[in-house]
């Protein structure tokens, strides 16, 4: 069997069980693909030796029988996850050289399930960005290419998206604070799900905005997302916001039967100046779900317009607090000091050198909106608006809607560097369809559903009821079956 790196998780699992391949062969195939793909900038810390050791252990476990579904599956891990003894720097200079003495709960769960870590994946610095251009490692590049431009894989989980789309790994972990799993998944023609807030433990995941951050899988198919999500989630006493709820067998819920399901189409997501191709894709998606037996209903989420501005108060506020820990004392970078410099100079120089411009900007915006005299006007107002945004969804679900269909992104992948001179707010608009889901704590999934006229992938987003990832994945599965998206990027790297 050749090109093992191109397998899905489900295929690899079945071949491993049938003893047709070994985890070591599968891992070797991925490592070769990774070594030939430096031009994508996806893997930023490679862990070949560790991967082969883990693959050996997985083969032993498979031979002994009764191994979990994920046993022997090679994965890429976003650099935001702390991995024991392996560089974990959130794509920031300020964490240069940081090798955690502990393993994040999510990556530990994946290791316990027998998965193999191929290395750490590129991302926007501290997950702040929508194009992977704020990384200290340099850009991650989209394997999709239609002219001589290098395209963004999206962000912040850009390295994860690029690696999965280019078959460097079978799947990858991502994290999503405002769209950082779903937007890059849409830009690269893969599947990405952000589960309900509290499904995955945040322990050991470098914090950006704690009330919004969630980890999730980025995979080649909906089935793979179901398999991998089950291995990632579950209650963790080390994260007080982690939900103590049973984790269902998500894969078993993929029947493809969505007859009688009510799918809402929110009118507020019909933005001015939305490209005709996105508009067309959206109505095609609704038709596909209708043809599969779902009932399509028009709905209203009246506070949608205020989601992005509320997000750009709440997320920077939480970031300014979370990132206060980078002080040059306990870990990471410390600036070299001049004679006579005291502790304040140490903090200020360390943070000026260690954080890139976008991270500095967000910390300072957060500091401003939390400062005396502005806390009520900005931060508390944004938290009130957040309550209203969540209520919009609750009202719709109370009326019997099972899931909501929207575009995943306002455009296909754009060229790296094209937004450099734009106002930061222009970049923030990338998250216009995804950020509401984080503010309301809901599960959301991006499913590749078509190509634009240039040949770039486009995705649709489905939003589900809290804790009903299984039902959401099943609706996504039906959409995936109907869309029949099979296009892959042509190898140029």
């Amino acid at each position: 069997m050749s090109d093992l790196n191109k397998l899905t998780i489900a295929e690899a699992r079945d071949h491993l069980r049938a003893k047709e391949i070994t985890a070591q062969e599968l891992t070797q195939s991925c490592l070769s693909a990774i070594d030939g793909a430096d031009a994508l900038g996806a893997f930023v810390h490679k862990t070949h030796d560790l991967a082969m050791t883990q693959a050996q252990a997985a083969d032993d476990r498979l031979a002994a029988g009764d191994a979990p579904d994920m046993c022997g599956i090679p994965l890429g891990i976003k650099d935001l996850f702390c991995t024991k003894g392996v560089d974990s720097q959130a794509a920031s200079r300020i964490l240069q050289g940081f090798k955690p003495e502990y393993e994040s709960t999510v990556s530990q769960k994946l290791l316990d399930a027998g998965t193999i870590m191929l290395g750490k994946l590129n991302m926007d610095e501290f997950a702040m960005g929508s194009s992977n251009e704020t990384s200290v490692y340099g850009n991650a590049v989209n394997p999709w290419k239609v002219d001589d431009r290098a395209l963004t894989p999206g962000g912040s989980s850009g390295g994860s998206a690029s690696a999965v789309a280019a078959d460097l790994c079978l799947a990858a972990t991502g994290t999503d604070t405002g769209g950082s799993i779903r937007q890059p998944a849409a830009f690269t023609g893969i599947v990405g799900i952000k589960p309900t807030y509290g499904r995955c433990s945040r322990w050991g995941v470098v914090a950006f905005a704690s009330s919004l951050d969630q980890a999730g899988p980025m995979t080649k198919t909906v089935r793979d997302s179901a398999i991998m999500l089950e291995a990632m989630c579950g209650h963790d006493p080390k994260d007080s916001t982690s939900a103590d709820l049973p984790v269902p067998n998500f894969e078993a819920m993929l029947t493809g039967d969505i007859r009688g399901k009510k799918i809402g189409i929110p009118k507020e997501y019909r933005m001015d100046a939305m490209p005709a191709e996105i508009e067309a894709l959206w109505s095609q998606g609704a038709d596909m779900l209708r043809d599969a037996g779902a009932e399509i209903v028009d709905i209203s989420l009246p506070h949608t317009k205020y989601a992005l501005p509320a997000y750009y108060v709440i997320a920077p506020a939480e970031a300014s607090s979370n990132l206060a820990r980078y002080d040059g004392v306990r870990f990471g970078h410390r600036a070299s000091l001049a004679a006579g410099d005291g502790i304040t100079e140490m903090y200020e120089k360390t943070r000026a050198e260690g954080f890139g411009p976008e991270v500095q900007r967000r910390i300072m915006i957060g500091t401003y909106v939390l400062s005396a005299g502005f806390y009520d006007a900005y931060y508390n107002r944004a938290r009130r608006v957040r309550t209203l945004i969540k209520k919009d969804f609750e009202d719709v679900f109370a009326n019997g809607v099972d899931a909501i269909l929207t575009p995943a992104t306002p455009s296909a992948a754009f060229g790296l560097g094209e937004m450099t001179d734009a106002d930061p707010v222009q970049m923030y608009l990338n998250d216009v369809f995804t950020v509401t889901v984080n503010l309301a704590g809901l599960p959301g999934i991006s499913v590749p559903t078509g190509l634009d006229s240039a040949g770039l992938p486009l995705g649709l987003q489905l939003i589900g009821r809290p804790w009903e990832e299984g039902d959401l994945l099943n609706t996504a599965y039906a959409l995936e079956q109907a869309a029949g998206f099979v296009a892959k990027p042509q190898k140029w790297w």
Binding site: P309, S320, G328, H333, R351, A352, T387
Partner: protein, 95 residues
């Protein structure tokens, strides 16, 4: 609402990020653009609406008040830029 270079300097100081004087006007302008975007929130009627404290309704779990962690001085200091004699070392704080 307009952010002056003085306000930008104050915010940078509060955030403990060194910003050179010649970079302050551009920073103030960026703040103004972003805050201008945020100003839209003033259109929303939030009268009587509670600020969100938890996106999923849940009570914090309780546990027995036992010591469950600790005694890992070496591991805690392992990644420090400057650790000496079992402590984090920093520039002189007290005169």
């Amino acid at each position: 609402m307009s952010i002056t270079t003085e306000t930008a300097a104050k915010v940078a100081k509060l955030a403990r990020i060194r910003v050179e004087d010649d970079a302050l006007p551009a920073l103030a302008q960026e703040f103004n653009n972003i805050l201008g975007f945020i100003e839209q929130l003033n259109e929303v009627d939030v009268e009587g609406v509670e600020p969100m404290t938890s996106v999923t309704p849940q009570r914090l779990k309780r546990r027995v008040d036992d010591v469950t962690d600790g005694s890992q001085q070496d591991k805690v200091l392992k990644n420090a830029p400057d650790a000496r004699e079992g402590f984090f070392a920093v520039p002189k704080v007290v005169e």
